[in-house]
């Protein structure tokens, strides 16, 4: 059964190929339904394989399926092989499951777009690449998927490429990711030179047996951290993700919240024995990168007014939590948070998409308000997502975030404090968003009318699908859009049952399910925190986490609903600590000059040497060819003189005769 693992990528690949040939003919909405069906087909095969693995004993739950030998180059052997193990199947379950729901949503969201079938073509290609990334048995197959998702991300961010900002954002995402990819490539070279294989089983085993030197392991882990920082939008490479919101909202939900951006965390989890075999500062670095990114992005999210930008920075922040978990050895917590985050963040992005759709392409939260009255389903499901991300029990985010903070405290109190501050900020900015969008007074009656009428800048937006021009009223989205919202809301609400702790009298039969499931993959790298103060005082931690969430909520309520406190949204935060601007300045001014120097060196020195030789030969030839007068008698004379001189030399100087 698990031999059929190739079906998981095969379905979206088939969808991609079918859409490539018949996409235009199928058109709107059938192309979308075909793509959706393919992703759900992939989901169904994942479920089958999941149950097959479940029926086996824990230690037998990994099947390698080799399709063909990909690169047989002497001792360098790479197979196109898939690994079906608890980690990859857990990833596939949520990638294809949530991906399918987002596809379904997109059928409604993209309705009427001129490039409807092309959108689903890219989307299916993305799911194919993502499943390759997750299922790859060696670094190279993963890297193929890694580059594939990067390409799809580029294509989809720049989907409305006639819009200048979208085209630029696509390029920015692609270029920033190249920096990370460079790290992954170097890590692959290093791994191959160290252990002679790119297969995860070989690399991890050599790390477990201590065959892999700590220095090499550290270098591999740090290079992969660079790759993860690029793909998972961590400091210092997070800058592309907020701009990636230029893409259609389902893309933001699927690629830039739920799946692709967790690729970096996945990769680090996959090679967890290598991190465990590294020097101690390596996991510490990972944890600090994560927690600082989490705090940094959360502060920026406080002052954003674009509904999608808030969610984008929130995504960066939440992935920071996952990195924190990876760095502190809480791999289960990282994957747990990845899954719950995929559910609630996809839910909120789709909710935001529904709002944008209902508000006729308006994204500014200052022009919204009181939308719960006109969009009850969107509002209800969004509120579930909000409670989940804020960490309010018993919603899913509470359980996963709590687990991460537990590992953080077991590792270092400083990490824990930053994590808790971030948790308060998270609750605060998400509450701010919910209040601005769904509560308070409706600002769209006046604001939207002026946005509707005289702004020709909106003309470049995707084709307006509504008849309701002139008379403006936000409306609830069609069922094809709200059904995925409801399903995701259920997942976001109850996702916590995957990995309940042994607290509050929860029986051991249903607790730590995810941990038991992932145990064969992560047991080497997972930190043992039993016996630490944090482990023994879990109830205090839970109380602090709940207090943090509720205080964030209450504070935002006081500020934005009661208006007791003046909102504090410094421009420093609104401008993202000027980090993006600083990078742009750096790359634009000294960076550009530096590159100019390199270009000049190439043009003048390297090309100059090559061209110089050519010019010298040409000049010399111009002089030499003047000797060719064309007078045959002169040639004869020169030959005659030459003969005389030669003979003279032989006779007089050499003395022959």
């Amino acid at each position: 059964m698990a031999d059929l693992v190739w079906l998981i990528p095969a379905f979206p690949l088939a969808g991609f190929l079918l859409l490539l040939v018949f996409g235009r003919r199928l058109g709107d909405p059938n192309a979308g339904y075909l793509a959706t069906a393919m992703v759900f087909g992939s989901f169904a095969s994942t479920v089958l394989i999941f149950f097959d693995l479940l029926s086996k004993p824990a230690e037998d739950r990994d099947t390698v399926v080799t399709l063909f030998s990909w690169l047989p180059v002497g001792t360098f052997q790479v197979d196109m092989a898939f690994l079906a193990d608890p980690l990859s199947i857990a990833m596939c379950l949520f990638v294809t499951g949530i991906g399918g729901l987002i596809h379904l949503f997109a059928v409604g969201y993209m309705h009427g777009d001129a490039k409807f079938s092309k959108f689903f073509l890219y989307l299916n290609l993305f799911v194919f690449s993502m499943t390759l990334l997750v299922l790859g048995e060696n670094l190279l197959v993963t890297f193929l998927g890694w580059e594939g998702v990067g390409t799809c991300s580029y294509l989809l961010i720049a989907f409305w490429h006639s819009r200048e900002s979208a085209a630029t954002a696509g390029k920015k995402a692609f270029v920033t990711n190249r920096v990370g990819d460079w790290g992954v490539m170097l890590a692959m070279f290093l791994a191959f030179s160290a252990v002679g294989s790119l297969s995860y089983s070989v690399i991890n085993e050599s790390a477990e047996t201590g065959e892999l030197a700590a220095s090499t392991a550290s270098a591999i882990a740090m290079l992969l951290l660079l790759g993860a920082a690029g793909k998972s939008a961590q400091l210092p490479l997070y800058i592309w993700l907020p701009d990636a919101m230029e893409g259609p909202t389902p893309v933001s939900a699927l690629i830039h919240a739920a799946t692709m951006v967790t690729g970096g965390v996945f990769l680090l989890t996959r090679i967890n024995p290598v991190i465990a075999a590294s020097y101690d500062w390596v996991p510490t670095t990972i944890a600090w990168v994560g927690v600082i990114t989490a705090l940094f992005a959360a502060t920026i999210a406080l002052a954003q007014n674009d509904i999608k930008k808030v969610l984008a920075y929130s995504t960066v922040s939440q992935i920071g939590y996952m990195m924190l978990a990876v760095g502190t050895g809480g791999y289960v917590a990282a994957i747990f948070h990845m899954i719950t985050h995929a559910a609630f963040k996809a839910l909120m992005f789709l909710g935001a998409g529904s709002v944008i759709h209902g508000m006729h392409e308006e994204q500014d939260m200052r022009k919204m308000g009181a939308l719960r009255t006109v969009m009850p389903i969107t509002a209800g499901t969004f509120i579930v997502g909000w409670l989940a991300i804020a960490g309010v029990p018993p919603f899913s985010g509470f359980w996963s975030k709590d687990e991460i903070l537990l590992f953080a405290l077991a590792d270092s109190p400083a990490l824990y404090v930053v994590g808790i501050i971030t948790a308060i900020l998270t609750a605060f900015y998400m509450t701010r968003q919910v209040i601005m969008v769904f509560f308070g007074e409706a600002k769209w009656t006046s604001a939207a009318n002026e946005a509707e009428a005289p702004e020709p800048a909106e003309g470049e937006e995707p084709i307006e699908t509504h008849d309701a021009h002139g008379e403006f009223k936000p409306h609830e989205s069609p069922p094809v859009m709200w059904i995925p919202l409801v399903v995701l809301a259920v997942l976001a609400a109850f996702g916590g049952v995957l990995n309940l702790p042994k607290l509050f009298g929860i029986p051991s039969g249903v607790s730590y399910e995810l941990e038991h499931w992932l145990e064969p993959v992560i047991e080497f790298g997972e930190a043992d925190i039993t016996g630490t103060w944090a482990y023994d005082n879990k109830y205090i931690l839970v109380a602090i986490a709940v207090a943090a969430a509720l205080s964030g909520l209450a504070l935002a309520w006081l500020v934005y609903t009661k208006k007791r406190i003046k909102p504090w949204e410094p421009t420093l935060f609104a401008n993202g600590w000027y980090y993006d601007a600083a990078v742009s300045w750096f790359m634009g001014t000294p960076g550009r000059e530096g590159f100019q120097v390199v270009t000049d060196f190439d043009a003048k020195v390297v090309d100059g040497a090559v061209n110089g030789v050519g010019v010298a030969v040409k000049e010399a030839a111009t002089e030499v060819r003047k000797g060719q007068t064309g007078y045959v008698r002169q040639y004869a004379g020169v030959i005659g003189i030459g003969v005389v001189l030669l003979l003279g030399w032989f006779v007089v100087i050499r003395g022959i005769l």
């Binding site: 007068t629 064309g630 045959v632 004379g637 005659g640």
Partner: protein, 103 residues
Amino acid sequence: MIAAIGTSSYLLLAALLFAIGAFGLLVRRNPLIMFMCIELMLNAANLTFVALATQLGDINGQTAVFFVMVVAAAEVVVGLGILVSILRRRPGATADDLAELKG
């Protein structure tokens, strides 16, 4: 009879003939005359071959002469053919007029 005249006389004559040919080739501009000068030089070489072959009693020198004569005949055929076609196009052209290959 032949033996009465020394080999050196033959060589002297050959050198003289060669010098006349070489001088003619360099100073005359009429291509036909230049051709004749070349023939003169070739036959000077032939004379040297024959004279030395007789003196040394070696038949190889005389064999070489036949080769030279055959080559000279072939050369004349080709050379005169080219010459005729050039003069047909450009009557009265001298060797110096034919300097199209000037660098």
